[in-house]
Amino acid sequence: MNDQVRDDPKRARFQALCQSLRPDLLRFAIWLSRDRALAEDVVQETMLRAWKAQDSLQDEAAAKPWLLTIVRREYARSFERKRLPTVDIDELIASEEPSLAADSDEAELAQLRRALFKLPDEYREPLVLQVLMGCSTAEVAAQMGLSTAAVLTRLYRARRQLRAICGEDTSMDPEE
């Protein structure tokens, strides 16, 4: 692989591109799975698959949605491989939270993370795609196989729930 990279600037560029996107892909996988160990496995597998399939990526600008698709697919594969037990959210938060926070984080960010953990998957995923990954509504819809109207509804409900859990002033929020 080393020689391949040295000999081929295109491959080197692809590798650099993947490395620059890796931190956000890992963050996305963490929020998708709520499990850092699993997220690391998913992203590692994603990078491997991307490397093997890099010739299918025609436009570098499309790298991010392409890699996001692979992350989602790999995450779904992990469901196929393993059985899902019932998850105790409070235990999950207690075990995962210490590995997420930066030392300098204030209490309100920790509270917001706990609220995100509790958000239903179908609300948390589009929100992370929009806020963290910078995806447009159309891009979120394409990733999730939903209509843009459905995505907007989920995003609206996600923010309403989060704001309520976090004690934000929701007196000006519209009625459902």
């Binding site: 990279v5 591109l17 929020w31 799975s33 059985r83």
Partner: protein, 239 residues
């Protein structure tokens, strides 16, 4: 026309929605403008909360053994060996690739950094509170004069081992991002056009360099350089 309920519903679904009807409503309705301002503050917190540590995951050990989300066989024996082998292989491959890939240029690092903060590119009319902006600029010992324009995002970022101010000014053709790089130096202006970002890194005699960039249809090279020079003139160095 859009009413208050629909304005707020639209904003809760997509705070960065560039729909001109939303902008018009916000300008006409002080209540909704206040709502938008509160939501923008919430969005900044939300983005920071989501930006969990991603670089040094394996070094962080939870206080107690993490509860696995999935069931299945106990984790041990062959699984443990396979994991160790794959980690070792991954490490060796990563090290080999790191050695093989040429060091990125300053412009490449700036562009890579942009991918970490997509929230910065929101088109918005909500200004960063002055104390927050001052705190961010303090790292580089600078102040901004009013000529800089409307600053809608400010963050102190770790870049090449140093905390650097990263802020966004709303220009006529969309958001313009600025990074003040007092620890870097360039001999002459360096234009770049990479991965959809267009910009320039200007030398700042005695104070390192400054990167200014736009994305999408944010402007051509000449207009970016004009904006950069205007911003440079608006910076007051305090040390």
């Amino acid at each position: 026309m859009i009413d208050c309920a629909n304005f707020r519903r639209a904003l809760l679904a997509d705070p960065g929605d560039p729909d001109p009807r939303l902008r018009a409503h916000r300008e006409d309705c002080p209540e909704c403008a206040r709502f938008a301002q509160g939501l923008a503050r919430f969005e900044q917190k939300l983005e920071r909360a989501m930006r969990v540590r991603a670089g040094e995951a394996s070094r962080t050990v939870p206080a107690r053994a993490p509860r696995r989300v999935f069931g299945g066989r106990p984790f041990g024996g062959r699984n443990r060996l396979a994991l160790a082998a794959s980690l070792a292989l991954g490490f060796v491959a990563a090290a080999a690739l790191w050695l093989a890939v040429p060091r990125p240029t300053l412009a490449e690092d700036v562009v890579a950094h942009m991918a970490e903060e997509p929230q910065a590119w929101l088109r918005t009319a909500v200004a960063v509170p002055p104390p927050a902006l001052r705190a961010v600029l303090r790292d580089a010992h600078v102040r901004l004069s009013p000529g800089a324009g409307l600053v809608t995002y400010a963050n102190s970022c770790l870049f090449r081992g140093h905390q650097v101010p990263h802020f966004v000014v709303q220009g006529e053709r969309g958001p313009v991002t600025v990074m003040i790089l007092v620890h870097e130096s360039v001999a002459r202006p360096r234009h770049f056009d990479e991965q959809g970002y267009r910009g320039v890194i200007l030398p700042v005699p005695g104070h390192g360099a400054m990167a200014v960039l736009t994305r999408g249809a944010g402007g051509d090279a000449a207009s970016v350089e004009r904006t950069a020079k205007r911003l440079l003139a608006a910076i007051v160095w305090t040390a």
